[in-house]
Symmetry: C2
Subunit: 110 residues, 2 copies
DNA sequence: TTCTATCATCGTAATATTACAATAAGAAAG
DNA sequence: CTTTCTTATTGTAATATTACGATGATAGAA
């Protein structure tokens, strides 16, 4: 139905899935890489670096903001974007824990 | 348009986004946790642990398989699922690199 | 005020996702 | 062969996502 049975899953799984969803589009990965590349905030010109229209980029930025991964502070005519440190480290921790919990399959079936 | 401008993005971003997409639903995260919990493969009964119908679970398993994160080997009447070690470690590496490349914002704007 | 630059939002169209019941496909049991 | 058990696939409906042009909103320049 295109609708997810949100209430049926564990909070930790929902949180991780939400972060993953934010990363689930190459444009958003590209935006994050642009923000990661510089140590300071970036004002505007994200649009110039992507092959997408201004409105589409703005929409992706909104999704990243709603996921909490980035912040956008108004600075006069422009908007200053940067990674949200807390959410970023939270997402990193959840991902790390998930991926690190793997141990090689003991059986011979695979 | 619901369609992604695939050709316009870097391969690394596409790969990371594809892995992230596989993790972008709580049911798939839950499935992966079930597989991670045991050191051996698990035959069937994933459906019993989730609040979803058999066909829906099967569809999620298919997506995880297509993303490469899991394998399913036929074992008589049942199917043996387990994490695909190579893809898992590849995804882990890409995620780790991405998250680790963050350094605190130097400026005062955020 | 008026113009311009920058970013957000709205409206819309195309496509994708999520979910389930029903059905199919395959292997083992009887 | 027929039945049963297990998983995959098909069909369908509801909702979500992706993308862009057009329009709004706001701040600074002229």
């Amino acid at each position: 139905m295109g609708i997810t049975k949100t209430e049926a899953f564990k909070a930790a799984d929902l949180t991780l899935a939400a972060y993953a969803k934010a990363l689930a589009h190459p444009a958003r990965v590209a935006i994050l890489r642009i923000l990661l590349e510089r140590s300071s905030c970036i004002c505007g010109d994200i649009v110039d670096e992507l092959p997408l229209s201004q409105s589409t980029v703005s929409q992706h930025l909104k999704e990243l903001k709603e996921a909490g991964l980035i912040k956008g502070d108004i600075d006069g005519k422009k908007v200053c974007y940067c990674i949200d440190e807390n959410a970023w480290k939270h997402a990193q921790l959840l991902m790390q824990k998930m991926f690190a919990s793997y141990t090689s399959c003991g059986t011979s079936c695979c």
